[in-house]
């Protein structure tokens, strides 16, 4: 009878508040939003610098040591610019598109294991969610271009939608490859499986190659930058965006780059695993930096395809390769 209910309640409340604060810090600061922003800006710098060095240019140079702060400076400059909404545009979609283009990759990054082998949000089937999120990003791109009522934007958004018909299927197929090997549709489980067995790049090199090419298309990087082909259609689907909207679009693109490199790392390069005394986060950063550099290398050595070349090439070469990889896994090779 000596139980003091008020004290117990107070204790529970205190515990819940503490838990809430810890959770909020994990979502908003580390390894959540703020950390991911820093990573996004850093990888944009890595991409730009490496790309420039491959072309025998210097790249960003003046802001911070070796220009490392340049992407952040660009972001704040764009935020402080005048935001122009064309009269003819579909206002609601035009305003909402950059917000969703930014929020979708940010949300998806939470299912990727960064700090340890288990991600912040992990459930059976989060791999399917990632595929779904990639499709949603392209739909946002399409709506962004379509709502601008500008001929360059319309052509850009149509190209983005048509391009999606090409790379989405090979990408979906090879993303299932690691899942079949690990026997689970959860990215955390796939990483765990790789720490006990081999890295999947050794078992499924074909899948890794196809996945990398498809990610180039997803990121609209050079051989597949058809939706925003600078020399043909100004800035493609982004033509009418300016000021804070363009800032959000660019940060969204950087987050997508982080997502792409994190996916390569988690699905094929063993993810964030402890190696000797080195903590998993350092391993993860090294691997993702390598993945970003691989993507920039491919961006530098190819020239842009035409949309019909891209589509027929994807269906003629990439899809059979992806199917071959799946068949090989099912026959017991590569998993």
């Amino acid at each position: 009878m000596g139980l003091d209910y008020a004290a117990v309640e107070k204790e529970v409340c205190k515990k819940m508040t503490a838990e809430t604060i810890v959770s909020m810090i994990r979502i908003l600061v580390f390894p959540g939003a703020l950390f991911l922003f820093t990573l996004a800006f850093f990888y944009e710098w890595v991409d730009r610098k490496f790309f420039a060095r491959l072309q025998n240019r210097y790249g960003p140079l003046h802001t911070g040591p070796h220009g490392i702060l340049q992407p952040i400076a660009d972001f704040f400059k764009l935020l402080s610019k005048e935001d122009i909404t064309p009269h003819a545009s579909d206002k609601l979609v035009f305003i909402l598109a950059p917000i969703f283009y930014f929020a979708l990759p940010l949300t998806t990054l939470f299912v990727i294991p960064i700090l340890s082998q288990t991600s912040l949000i992990s459930f059976e089937g989060d791999l399917i969610f990632v595929i779904f999120a990639f499709t949603l990003i392209i739909i946002t791109v399409f709506l962004a271009g379509w709502s601008s009522i500008n001929r360059f934007s319309t052509i850009g958004s149509m190209r983005a939608a048509v391009q999606m018909l090409g790379y989405e299927i090979p990408m979906g197929l090879v993303m299932v490859g690691p899942a079949i090997a690990a026997g689970s549709l959860s990215i955390s489980r796939i990483v765990e499986w790789q720490s006990l067995n081999f890295w999947l790049i050794l078992l499924q090199p074909l899948g890794f190659a196809v996945f990398t090419v498809c990610l180039l298309a997803e990121l609209q990087f050079v051989p597949f930058d058809i939706p925003e082909a600078e020399t043909e259609i100004v800035a493609g689907w982004r033509t009418e965006f300016s000021g804070r909207k363009l800032a959000l679009l660019r940060l969204g693109r950087d987050l997508e780059l982080v997502l792409a490199s994190a996916l390569i790392t988690s699905l094929y390069l063993g993810g964030s695993q402890q190696f000797w005394l080195i903590p998993p986060i350092v391993i993860f950063l090294v691997k993702t930096t390598f993945a970003v550099m691989l993507l920039s290398l491919l961006r530098a050595v190819f020239a842009r395809f035409r949309i019909d070349q891209m589509l027929s090439g994807m269906w003629k070469y990439l899809l059979p390769l992806a199917a071959l990889q799946i068949i090989l896994i099912q026959l017991g090779l590569g998993g």
Partner: protein, 111 residues
């Protein structure tokens, strides 16, 4: 359990939207506010004077890819959800899909 509820996809997505809105608001506060002129609100057109109209892009030649896309999208999903089934089931699926593609080939040539 309470913690699981807080760190879940819908909550994180909602918080991401809030972060985006905050950045939007910051942009609205710090941005330069220029005067609105007719030229500024007109669509960008490389110096040409074009009326802002919706227009249709003809993508008919890519229709066949859309059909393939439908077939393979279902295939990929079936494959993804048949993880625990024995090895030959997915191979049978694959063969059925390949057959469908072969049957569709003449359609493409005629188109």
């Amino acid at each position: 359990m309470y913690n699981d509820l807080l760190i879940s996809l819908p909550v994180v997505f909602f918080l991401s939207l809030v972060v985006a809105l905050i950045l939007y608001l910051v942009g609205w506060i710090v941005a330069a506010k220029g005067e609105k002129t007719a030229g500024k609100g007109a669509p960008y057109a490389c110096g040409e004077d074009l009326p802002p109209r919706k227009f249709q892009v003809n993508v008919e030649e890519f229709l066949i890819y859309a059909v393939y896309f439908l077939i393979f999208d279902i295939f990929a999903f079936t494959l993804a959800t048949s993880l625990k089934t024995p090895g030959y089931f997915p191979i049978v699926y694959t063969l059925i899909v390949l057959m469908a593609v072969v049957i569709l080939m003449p359609l493409r040539r005629r188109g």
